[in-house]
Amino acid sequence: MTSLMIGLVLGGTYALAALGLTMQYGVARIMNLAYGEFVISAAFATFVLFSSINLNPLLAMFIVAPAAFSISYFVYAILMAPLVKRSKKKGNLENDSILITFGLLFLVQGILLVLFGADFASYNYLNIPVNVFGITIAANRLIAFGLAMILGLSLYCLVAYSQWGITLRAVATKPENARLVGINVDRVAQIAFAIGGMLAALAGVVISMFQTFTATSGVVFTMKALIVVIMGGVGNFMGALISGLILGLAEATVSTYVDPGLTLASTYLIFLVLLLWRPQGLFGKGVVK
């Protein structure tokens, strides 16, 4: 039962991270291989705020998230916008964005390594056992899960029911047609990218509450977020939420009953089975191409 709870907590953060990537890849069409680096950077920022001025992570969120939004906004303006402009030929944007963000990955990772070294980082926040329905779980995990779910669901509602959400979905499904009905696709893409970055940062804050992390663990987060996005169907927000939870549960199960060293392998196994069986995703509407 504890493993179920741990899985749900983990899954909640994956869902949050995957929502951000859905924004960046599904809406803005940027395949961001440096996504995990954004997550880890936010985790480090929270870590620094907590250990230097003893700032509560829940409050740190209000600094980290807007910062991540503006940084991503400018990253898009500086790095991505010229690529979008250049990619008149179909398919180029995907390749170019993969390459650029691959470079960005090393850049950000290099900065993190210089600042924090290669050691594991963590801080002690609300690490007290709480009893929920007879299951004992650390309070920080409980908060993390609640936070991930609240953020994830509110984003989902925004996308599903607001005017802005309709615009967003229009760009996600058919950017050419969205342009015809007067949507400024480039602008929507830029904001979607920035929101994606913000969600990555929020996932980072949440993760930092209960997990140790290093400057080089970004790749794994990118990988997991990507798998969740594909599992849910590219551009499908509810799919990403549910798939995130599924992946978290699967990992927790493997790490409890099989071997903690095999969690990444199990993630990959899920990915592989999915590719062979349903490449369009569990709830997918097909691949954006």
């Binding site: 993969i98 691959f102 090393f106 850049l107 900065i111 790749v219 798998i227 095999l262 392998a265």
Partner: protein
């Protein structure tokens, strides 16, 4: 076009390179070993990723598998046999990865290749810790640095020759068509999956070979050493700088970047990752088709005015 003059230049260059170990001291030889290995890696990478635009980020997965095979088998079996086994393992792994991902849109392949090195690294670590009980192995093979140099020179030459043959063959043309337009490719009779699979496996096997040849240089090997993501990163950036669409493109990217990398890691050991990351971004922006193509265009423009 291939002319007699070009062939003789190539043969003379090969001969001079083969004689190099007699004139170099240890540091220079080490430098040449590194450079040759990247020539082979970047050329092998471009063989598949150049024409198809399927960006493989998994170079170090195969490279590491090659090196690890040597580490596991280095007692009792002769080195050429070990190399052969390593190549076979790389072949099987690449076929498995390819079968799963190459039928689908290119992005699945990229994502899969992106995490493949991490997966293989964790699996080997798990195996070593749980099954064999030790992490890290020693390689004691009676190979001198110059032996490794000659082997790598052979591997790099082999890669270039294979690359040259592929470019002249139907399968090379098929890859170019696939890179241009997969729909046309299918409708003129090209078996998409088989063609991509074949070339990916060929490229990955060559990369595995390079990893295996280099393994004895380390003496002590553990997963975190041989599965260093910098190898994948450098391979891609070098191939891109030189231009992955040309046979000798990657070569022209390797030489300056490898020297730069050496200099950076000697002088800025903590910051080279940042500098290389920035450089990578700059290359994608400024020279999307590589330096050779850029020079060609420049010459053309000069000729016109």
């Amino acid at each position: 076009m291939i002319t007699g003059a070009k062939v003789s230049v190539a043969i003379i260059a090969f001969g001079l390179l083969a004689l190099l170990p007699f004139f170099l001291e240890a540091y220079g030889l080490g430098l040449m070993i590194g450079m040759l290995s990247y020539v082979a890696l970047a050329t092998a990478w471009s063989m598949f990723s150049g024409p198809t635009h399927y960006i493989s980020l998994a170079t170090v997965a195969f490279y590491g598998v090659g090196a690890y095979t040597v580490a596991v088998l280095n007692e009792g079996i002769s080195f050429p046999v070990i190399l052969l086994i390593a190549v076979l393992i790389g072949l099987v792994l690449s076929l498995a990865v390819g079968v799963a991902t190459l039928r689908l849109a290119g992005v699945y392949f990229v994502i899969f290749s992106f995490g493949l090195a991490e997966l293989v690294r964790q699996l080997i670590t798990w195996y070593e810790v749980n099954v064999t009980g030790t992490l890290g192995r020693y390689i004691f093979l009676p190979l001198e640095p110059q032996d490794i140099y000659w082997l790598l020179l052979g591997a790099a030459t082999l890669t270039l020759i294979i690359g040259w043959l592929v470019r002249r063959s139907r399968i090379g043309l098929a890859l170019r068509v696939i890179g241009d337009d997969e729909v046309i490719a299918a409708h003129i009779g090209i078996n998409l999956t088989r063609t991509k699979l074949l070339l990916f496996a060929l490229s990955a096997s060559l990369i595995t070979l390079v990893g295996a040849i280099q393994a004895p240089r380390w003496v002590y090997i553990e997963p975190s050493i041989v599965f260093n993501p910098t190898v994948s990163f450098l391979t891609v950036i070098m191939a891109l700088l030189g231009g992955p669409h040309r046979l000798f493109g990657p070569l022209f990217g390797v030489v300056p970047l490898f020297l730069l990398f050496e200099w950076l890691s000697a002088n800025f050991p903590n910051h080279y990752s940042i500098i290389l990351g920035a450089l990578f971004i700059a290359i994608v922006f400024v020279l999307p088709n590589g330096v050779l193509e850029f020079l060609d265009r420049f010459r053309l423009r000069r000729a016109k005015t």
